[in-house]
Amino acid sequence: MSGHTVPADFSEHMLDLDEDEDLEVFTKNTSLPDGSPLPNSPSSMVNQYRLEDDDEGKEDANTKDIFVTVDHPESQVTAIETFILYRVVTRTTRSDFDSSEYEVRRRYQDFVWLRSKLEEKHPTLIVHPLPEKFVMKGMVERFNDDFIETRRRALHRFLNKISEHPILSYSQHFQVFLTAQDLAPHRKQGPGFLSRMGETVRAVANSVRGLRSRPEEFAVMQEYVDDFSNKMCCMDKVSQRIVKEQREYVDDLKQYSPTYARWGELEEELTEPLKGVASCVVQCSKEAEEHIQHLSEVLVPALHEYVLCAETLKAVMRRRDNIQAEFEAKNEALLTRKAEQEALQEEVDVLADRMEQANNSLKGDWVRWQHSMKTDLRSAFISAAEKNVEYYEKCLAVWESFLVSQRAEASGGQEDVA
């Protein structure tokens, strides 16, 4: 329900009007993971995701009934353009899917389409962001292997986030995306570019008019979103800087071993320990490179994803504000204009309803999102910390074995080193 003019395609619109249908689909589960009674109204959704357990993640896995993967990027060359097609494989036990397994090919633009459809239909739900269209810095080519792999991972995450979302995963667009061999006919349907334009225009108009007042909880949310966005940008920058510094460190570190080796060749008695040190440095450099690889594959993308999430959150807050603004505007018209009272009243009611649903959706999804954010980032940080420990442990082993070899060499006693 996004406040644009009723589109020609009623069926979709009806689906939009009827939020309960979405919920009913969800209510096929007889109870929630934490055992509380299932919700049947938007407002009770708010309580639904107040999760305290850390086991939530594990239980999700047990109740998960749809599995999506994105892999096998392949370059497609046509007369007009070159682009990458990704293979999307779906396995599901859901009854609303005709089959239990699907394999389709999708390009980045298809993902963009899916996401915009989801946002249109659920303007105040938090739809996970897509990887960026371009990467500006570093002159990364669009078809550079690392770029493609990073993008593939992000697209995989995107679809998984959608499939884990209690409402979005049951979206018809999502199903079409996963199952239709040819997406083209579906992409032509429904509100498209023009209606999105309309929404933008209205959004601008609304922001000009300004919001009377934001309800307390959304004001708090807005503040959080702004701060969170700041922090995520910082984290992203710091992490990328660390990767850069570490790369430079490893490059310089590698220069040690040929020099030590060269020295080893000069000497007689010292040849063996010198070559030993050279080999230690080589091994440590390898470990360091693995470490950097892990950082670039796990921590940096995770943080970057949440930078994009922050932008999504801002957009969601804006859309919610707009919905409220539209209602307020209409309401004001109702109060000030004496003519057309009945028609206006109806419109105001519709907008009020829409606003309430929008607010409730957001409130509910907000809790879910926070939990998801915490889980994601915590796991990324833990992984990064573990990898650091592993890196140091491996280097420690390398140098310790060097020491052992030296002690074995030495005649007479050498002091014990703690």
């Binding site: 040690y256 320990p273 910390a385 420690l396 030296q406």
Partner: protein, 434 residues
Amino acid sequence: MADSVSSEEVAVISNTDITSTESENNIINTMVERGTALLRKLEINVAEAEKRTGKNTVNMQETYTVYLIEIRPAETEGGTPAAPDTLWRRYSEFELLRTYLLVTYPYIIIPPLPEKRAEFVWHKLSADNLDPDFVERRRVGLENFLLRVASHPVLSNDKIFFLFLTEEKGWRDAVLETGFQDKADSRLKSLSAMFRVKNPDKRFTALKQYSDELNSVISQLLRIRARVADRLYGVYKVHGNYGRVFSEWSAIEKEMGDGLQSAGHHMDTYAASIDDILEEEEHFADQLKEYLFYTDAVRSVCRKHELIQYELEMAAQDLAQKKQQKEELATGTMRIFSLKGMTSKLFGQESPEQKESRLAALEQSIQEGEETVKEKNTECQEFVRAAWDDIEHFKEQKDKDLREALISYAIMQISMCKKGIQVWSNAKECFSKM
């Protein structure tokens, strides 16, 4: 030749039976042997450094650092350590002492001084000579120098060295009185010798080459080390930013706040730990630098040998020429060009008396020449023998010291790894509690 080369000292040089306790002491006390008479009597420390201001030779105010040398009698069993005798010396006096030693014992590889100016610095380390860290490292280097000299079988017996340790005021005059500056070979002389020696001693040639290559390889190692230190510093310090951001972020989170905050502290710890790590590594760099500077001393000895060899060859060549001349004069033939011979041809033969006197003069010259050659030969042989003794001694010392330096480098790396494991394990725990 200096008078301290004797068979006694030779015995000391080849004395390598150090006991296991001494061996352990060696490891603790910067790889210095305690085999000399001097060190059996005295304990030497460079205990402190102080800044002074005074007027220099051109009557301008300058700030310089002086170092306190402490001498105390070597500890007796169960006795209380006596109060030390002390005196202050500045770096330039150490330099003077070393120059004296270089000239007086040209066949000995003279231990090097710590660097005059900070080189191979990475960015955070100050290149300023008055910087306290630099001064401290120099203090250690000067002590090391004194201990090296004091433990050297030949150098430790030198009177001027003893005065350096004991006579604050009168030392400078004593050094200058030795007239060592006159004995110094001119650079030009030794450079020209380098190119003109006909029969270089293969061992010395090999040694010189080794020394040059060692110099090159250690220089490169030190350059790389400075760069790597810089990079590593950057890596650790950027993690400090995590500390700051985590702290700020924790303020806006409810559940995650505590975990983030404490993780942030560990990031700060991690960032701070690099300072100690790199300081320890500086010590390793100093050990390498000592041997870098040692290569200059080795090259010095090789050059001195070349010079002596060259002088010997010159003397022999001179003698051969004179003999040739005598032969020609005696037989009347002129196989080699001589001005006298030429003038005789042009202006007529000389009288038998003249010839006789010239022959006698030549005979005298030849005798002198033979003496000279004999002297030079002895000098050369003595030099080679004494130098090679010291070179063997040096090689053993170098192998031992550098092996231990590499081991302590490995120990440092291990320590750094352990710190890293600690910090990141702690951080992981904080993250888990988030």
